[in-house]
Amino acid sequence: MTHRERVLAACSHQEPDRVPVDIGATKVTSIHRVAYQNLRQHLGLEPREETVWDRMQQIVLPDEDLLQYFDVDTRPLFAGPPDHFKSVELDGDRYRDQWDVVRKRPENGFYYDIVESPLAGEPTLDDLDRFSWPDPDDPGIVRGLDQRAATLHEETDYAVVLNLSATILHTSQYLRGFEGWFIDIALRPDFMAALMDRILELHLRTINNLFREVDGAHVDVVFLSDDLAIDQGPMISPASYRELLKPRHRKLIETVKNHTDAKILYHSCGAVHHFIDDLIEIGVDAINPVQVTSQGMETSYLKESFGDRIAFWGGIDTRYILPQGSVDEVKIEVKRVIGDLAPDGGYVLNFVHNAQPDVKPENICAMIETAREVGTYPLCV
């Protein structure tokens, strides 16, 4: 089986030859630059400066030598930076992004977090008209993307994962600021709907622009992301989700499906099991990151309840097991998760979210080795 066939079989609920592995196909399945350098050093790979793929999260675009070392099955495809906007550097390790959101990294911090939101306070519909929205037609976004997609699809046999930075919930949250956003959801849902519509329009235009360049047949998986849950349960009520987010996510996915038969991979952290039926209904094929430490996210329960209708992508705990566990504990956990999620296909192995700075390199190695040992079909776990 080729790498691509392996991933597509798993996402189609067929048993591949072995459990496919993703590292770095998306901005939530990669590695923080600190953990990445630790891993390279541990493996004795040639020293080289990492490519930071996402500044906010400080994660890398993994180098090809590392991906080949682990025989990773996926490769990322992603839009380019706009020609007409560059992040504005500010003092105190802060920067302003194209949404006018300011982020800061605390002294000795590992990430950038929001310190200023452009629509904080009590914005009106007029403020939405006045706001300087990013330009979805900026030529830089799609430049060269058709060729990159074609090369990946025709000259390699990896599963090509197209990253769409098309969050509705998060973009509206960043623009409003967290507290204002939550208050709008409760008290000003009409304003929130208007804000989300503006964001949706922009994303739809970007998606149509991308697929005007990229041949849909060159894409195997399309990745979308919007966190719906926290550790203990839904981030907002299921009623608010169904009113505000579900119809807009449905529209995003429909638009993608107009252009490609690729599998739809959707990311939401936390106890997302409350929403899996909704996600299946709007066309999601695989769910990431399977945050096993969240309430109700036991892998056996997930497989039993949803496993015939949705595939799981992630599942190896980055909160306790990979940073704090011993190599033996990692092996036991990987075996357990594969035993729960991989029967009849339906599982792509990855960390639960990006491997953070405290993840031990020997544990990443143990994760991959165990996946090879016990993840060969027919499974014997």
Partner: protein
Amino acid sequence: MVDLKELYDAILEGNSADAVTITRRALGESLDPMHIVHEGMIPAMEEAGRRFEAFEFFIPEILVVASAMKKAMALIRPLLADRGGDYTGKVVIGTVKGDLHDIGKNLVASMLEGGGFEVLDLGVDVPPAQFVEQINTGGVDIIAMSALLTTTVGAMSETIAAIEEASLRDRVKIMVGGPPVNQAFADEIGADGYRDNANAAVSLARELVQPGR
């Protein structure tokens, strides 16, 4: 005559404007401030907490309840300050060093204020020395620390170490919270308590300042 059920409803709906108006009217009618708190406000917060734990309320709803409660409470607090007997305690709260996340911390702070505590919020990215300085200032019953990141929870034990170093550990109770924290971690670093949600954090704070009550 003001019906405190209206205050209860206004707070539960997160209607700050109504909650403030009704509280003002009640005080204008010379209702005992403690009566307003016990008959209107605390029952509303308890009901909100119950709904939150029963997955009927979520962060947006609980946040607007806490905000309405806080605004109504601001009218009451000056009147309680002279009385002493109903004083619940003072909490110094903050997100630990290296961490800029404050939504959970703000919610706990609002709920504590709604629960009658005096709350001093030190904000985010708070170095251990700043917590120590506050304890030195005096009158602090509880230090409450929050962290969102697995990579910043370590600052909680650093803060506790700094408090011990300053020989102030027996002067305060310490409570911790945030996604990467659990009871085992709280025990390990020598905190006095941990809860996984804002509502439970208020009960914990009460237990810590008034053991056995």
